[in-house]
């Protein structure tokens, strides 16, 4: 019997010849474009160099691939480079935004007083060693807390209402909530400005800003939480009811714990949206350069609003402070987002290692309890 060749066929899409084609195309493109711009036409700008270079690369790459592939394969590879280019471009732009704010913001953040002082003593010509944004940090914390105190209980209760009851009224509420997610945030601010500040006569304050943020965040949180609660498997709910638990006990002991990580994610992502929102706060919070820890009276500034206001200043140091405030704001949003990712990375009902250990211990304790009862 002859032995068959048993070498495994390489199913990896990128084979050596194709990698060679990519590198060959790149090198050729760089060389040809350099030749073109130094010898044939005058240098126009880096953008023109990149665009022309890419087109040359596409032609060379297509040529190299077509040497040992058919037309379909050439089309496939060329489109793959196009898609990769577009994706890299998008990623590049988004990275540049973050890095740019980071670099510009670092200038203000490198002075420690930026985190401990407010701006009440900083005149428009004072250097960065005077003044900070602690007043805006306090404002942001208080305003988002007010918004969360309103939206968390109301939002989660409403999402439970939407997923646990059926009927005309439920459908109506769901439609209205969905419609309200389309409400532009500036209009939410305008509503609170007209009602709370002009009609009811309160001054611009942190409380008004918190209310405006609530109006904006409520539909977002209700919708996100509704989606999460509907993902809880129906058989868990039925098991709870079958064991004799009422609707309330099933909800409190089965559905909500199962959906806990998803609900937390919904709330945190809503918070991230609310923290960064400028326009409702612009209309309702007022502006102050001093610490105002009382949200019920007097203007109270928040981080996005401080960023926005400082950017309007013609003084370079004020603009630097604006970038610093933007960097702190971005850091807050990033932290919230990462927390949401860590908590919400698992689908409903899947436990972390620690939760699993705790369940196992509880189960062993139950077993002991049963055995003790049988023994006695």
């Amino acid at each position: 019997m002859t032995t068959l060749s048993r070498t495994r066929r390489n199913t990896n899409a990128a084979q050596d010849s194709e990698r060679a084609a990519v590198w060959g195309g790149l090198l050729g493109a760089v060389a040809l474009t350099a030749l073109l711009f130094t010898q044939v036409v005058p240098y126009i700008g880096i953008m023109a160099y990149v665009v022309v270079g890419y087109l040359v690369f596409l032609c060379l790459y297509a040529l190299l691939i077509s040497m040992d592939n058919d037309r379909q394969a050439v089309k496939d590879r060329v489109i793959a480079t196009l898609i990769a280019l577009v994706a890299l471009l998008a990623l590049l732009v988004l990275t540049v935004i973050v890095i740019y704010v980071f670099i510009r913001g670092l200038q203000a953040l490198s002075h420690l007083n930026f985190f401990t002082d407010d701006l009440s003593l900083a005149g428009s010509l004072d250097p960065l060693t005077v003044g900070g944004i602690i007043h805006a940090v306090i404002g942001t914390l208080e305003q988002i807390s007010i918004a969360l105190v309103i939206t968390i209980p109301l939002g989660i209760a409403t999402s439970v209402f939407l997923s646990e009851t059926r009927g005309v009224f439920t459908r109506f509420v769901r439609t209205i909530v969905e419609a309200m997610t389309a409400l532009p945030s500036i209009v939410a601010g305008l509503f609170i400005y007209a009602v709370v500040i002009l009609a009811l006569g309160f001054s611009k304050s942190g409380l008004a800003a918190g209310l405006a943020l609530s109006v904006m965040m409520l539909p977002i949180i209700v919708r996100a939480a509704d989606v999460v609660i509907r993902l809880v498997p129906g058989n868990l709910r039925e098991a709870g009811l079958a064991l004799g638990a009422g609707q309330w006990r099933t909800m409190w002991h089965v559905v909500l714990p199962t959906a806990r990580s998803g609900l937390t994610t919904a709330v945190i992502l809503g918070t991230a949206r609310g923290v960064g929102e400028t326009s409702p706060v612009l209309l309702t919070a007022g502006y102050t350069a001093a610490i105002n820890a009382d949200p019920t009276s007097g203007p109270q500034v928040s981080l996005p609003l401080a960023t926005f206001t400082l950017m309007q200043s013609p003084q370079p140091d004020m603009v630097a402070r604006g970038f610093g405030a933007a960097l702190v704001l971005m850091f807050v949003v990033l932290t919230l987002f990462l927390v949401a990712r860590v908590l919400g990375g698992r689908p409903a009902g899947v436990l972390s290692a620690r939760q699993q250990r705790r369940r196992a211990l509880a189960s062993i304790a139950d077993l002991r309890r049963f055995q003790d009862r049988e023994d006695s």
């Binding site: 990769a84 969905e178 400005y193 960023t307």
Partner: protein, 327 residues
């Protein structure tokens, strides 16, 4: 154990309280939302009753002399949102296809997170980046000038008051334009559109993907035959969702445009406006009636985003129901 087994939930006790509590929460949320809507309608209509149909045809904003309308800012909003969509959609399609079809494992998860994170970056950050970096440091106005030079024969890209052929002419005429605001807003809504599209692409059924490969399709052949047709609803829906967000965007537009109250049809030229930026600019100095007029403008914007959003969710919902494949 003796005793009757009950087969229905007892009507009473804690469950009745629970249901009442849920209903109350629903009613409160409904009341808040309805108050916002009705208040806007009521106040908006008091301004509309004065302006009548001229509200839709007046290019001015002087509510106290009853000479106001949204004929300038509403097309301005649509132009900015249009530029934003033209910028965002190709980027979002490329990104979504790259993540869902070309990447696997760690890279796929990481890039998905990165795009989701970008959706949470505050708009004020995008605004200051657009103003200082895009318009200041790297000079996007050069691109504006280039477009005006070669595409100036199209009315949309025309620029008055500047000679596009003069390479040394001042670039100030190209600053603070619809084009630049549109690019910034487009980058802002790109992650949202991309997330919806990626979700739709990743739901294309594996059986049909394998079928396409088994018939000898290349990867692009498979994408063209399976992924894109299945993701079409998600692509349209995501685009409309992005359009809704782009129309409602305030702060980034406010920070970049030089506000004008006459319609500026030349997108590359200095001067632009949008409904939401106008509200942010005007509310502080507005009288009682001026505020009603702003509410009328806000109402029109809200109705527009409402229609777009509902259409988007209808399209997305229909594409989900179509994900089940035969066999």
């Amino acid at each position: 154990m003796a005793g009757e087994r009950r087969t229905t939930a007892l009507p009473g006790g804690i469950d009745r309280l629970y249901r009442a509590g849920l209903r109350t929460a629903g009613v409160i949320v409904l009341a808040i939302m309805a108050t916002v809507g009705l208040f806007l309608l009521d106040r908006g209509f008091s301004a509309l009753a004065v302006a009548k149909w001229r509200f839709l045809s007046t290019q001015n904003w002087q509510p106290d002399s009853h000479n106001f309308g949204i004929a300038a800012v509403l097309p301005g909003t649509l132009l900015i949102a249009g530029v934003a969509i033209v910028v965002a959609v190709p980027l979002a399609i490329g990104m979504a296809l790259f993540i869902s079809e070309y990447l696997t494992g760690w890279w796929q998860r990481t890039l998905t997170s990165a795009v989701d994170l970008m959706a949470a970056v505050p708009s004020v950050v995008f605004g200051l980046w657009g103003f200082h970096f895009l318009q200041g440091d790297i000079g996007i106005t050069d691109l504006s000038a280039w477009l005006a030079r070669y595409l100036g024969w199209i009315p949309l890209f025309a620029v008055t008051g500047a000679d596009p052929d003069d390479p040394l002419a001042s670039r100030t005429v190209y600053t603070s334009s619809t084009f630049i605001a549109g690019i910034v807003v487009g980058l802002m809504v790109m992650p949202i559109i991309c997330a919806v599209m990626r979700e739709a692409f990743s739901q294309a059924p594996a059986g049909e993907r394998e079928g396409a490969y088994a018939l000898g399709a290349t990867r692009w052949g498979m994408i063209g035959a399976v992924v894109l047709p299945f993701g079409r609803g998600g692509m349209i829906g995501g685009t409309m969702l992005g359009l809704g967000r782009a129309m409602g965007e305030t702060i980034a537009v406010y920070m970049i445009v030089a506000a004008v109250y006459r319609f500026q049809p030349h997108i590359l030229q200095n001067g632009a406006n949008s409904v939401s930026a106008m509200i942010a600019l005007q509310y502080g100095s507005a009288s009682q009636f001026g505020l009603s007029a702003l509410m009328a403008a806000g109402l029109v914007l809200f109705l527009l985003t409402l229609v777009v959003n509902f259409a988007a969710s209808a399209v997305i919902a229909r594409s989900r129901s179509g994900q089940m494949s035969e066999g």
